[in-house]
Symmetry: C2
Subunit: 193 residues, 2 copies
């Protein structure tokens, strides 16, 4: 099972393409492994040679999306003119642009019949970004008995809470609105709301 073998690359590509085609027609939970294999013209046994479930195939896309999240986070923040963001890390706030860009994708991630795995992948992504910043920037200001891990989990999931609320309104609120909400919440909480 060397990943450089052309046969493996071709098979995986065919399965990728088939999944994308089917996802444009119906949600993931209505797509069967057998269907993906028929579409990809790949033997069903071959599928199980590479993945355990269709979710495994989906996760390979997730990795690419997470790459964009990391880049969104690293990217220098531009055009802050309309926001009162002086109190918070501007990078954090780029996350909503990323979600907006892939909202088709996140509609799947947050749909209720999908396994929790995807949620954890998003959580882990935001968690590790926040943890890095919290460790380097805020540790010296924090109460010494706060666990960095718990604190990062708290902050990361709080942001996902906003995204869940956003998703439930079918992402109809603007990115600007989300940015304002996060800014206001952080400001409010700091001043003792």
């Amino acid at each position: 099972m060397r990943t450089t073998d052309l046969r493996i690359i071709k098979t995986k590509q065919a399965l990728h393409d088939a999944l994308l085609t089917l996802l444009s027609q119906k949600p993931l939970e209505q797509i069967s492994i057998a269907e993906i294999c028929r579409e990809a013209k790949v033997n069903r046994g071959t599928f199980y040679l590479h993945y355990e479930q269709k979710e495994g195939l989906f996760e390979e896309y997730f990795q690419e999306i997470m790459e964009d999240l990391y880049q969104s986070y690293e990217e220098p923040y531009r055009a802050v003119t309309t926001l009162d963001t002086n109190q918070l890390d501007p990078n954090t706030i780029r996350i909503f642009h990323h979600i907006e860009r892939f909202k088709m994708f996140y509609r799947i991630v947050f749909s209720k019949n999908v396994p929790l795995t995807y949620y954890y992948m998003l959580f882990d992504g935001i968690y590790s970004l926040l943890k890095r910043d919290i460790t380097t920037q805020h540790i010296h200001q924090m109460e010494d008995h706060i666990s960095i891990d718990y604190y990062s989990a708290y902050q990361a999931n709080a942001i996902i809470g906003l995204i869940i609320q956003w998703y439930r309104g079918d992402f109809s609120d603007s990115v600007t609105m989300l940015n304002q909400q996060l800014a206001a919440i952080l400001k409010n909480v700091r001043s003792g709301g």
Copy 2:
């Protein structure tokens, strides 16, 4: 399909018992509907008369657990002696006792192959409790452009973030530790960490 019909009550009870028996042996995702029906001595067609998936059966338990969560939240807070909790709503902090009490159950809820539905049921439970308090207690102190819905989602999911971190350490930290972490985080953030 009147829910008072004795036949329905008996059938559901048999399915409930069967699920509990099987859950003590293996995780939900490894239990098939056919298996539950064999164990319950109920025809498989009858199962589909009452539920669409095994998850629907599981959700009926969830409702009972949520009842306990609501009671935990309402219950007057006792034995605060060791905690520095003067800054936060003591009710909030009762949530960790509830999770601890049903940790066997929450190990399922947070396992990665389970559908997101359960997460949302927990989220909605905490969300509505927090929202009620936020609406009645804090609205007058808050920045007026903060959406109560977003703010509640933020706070509810932040708490679940702590629970996820706790779960990932297999709930080995004590309830007291969790209470201290939440207290410290809220205190820290208020004083501008």
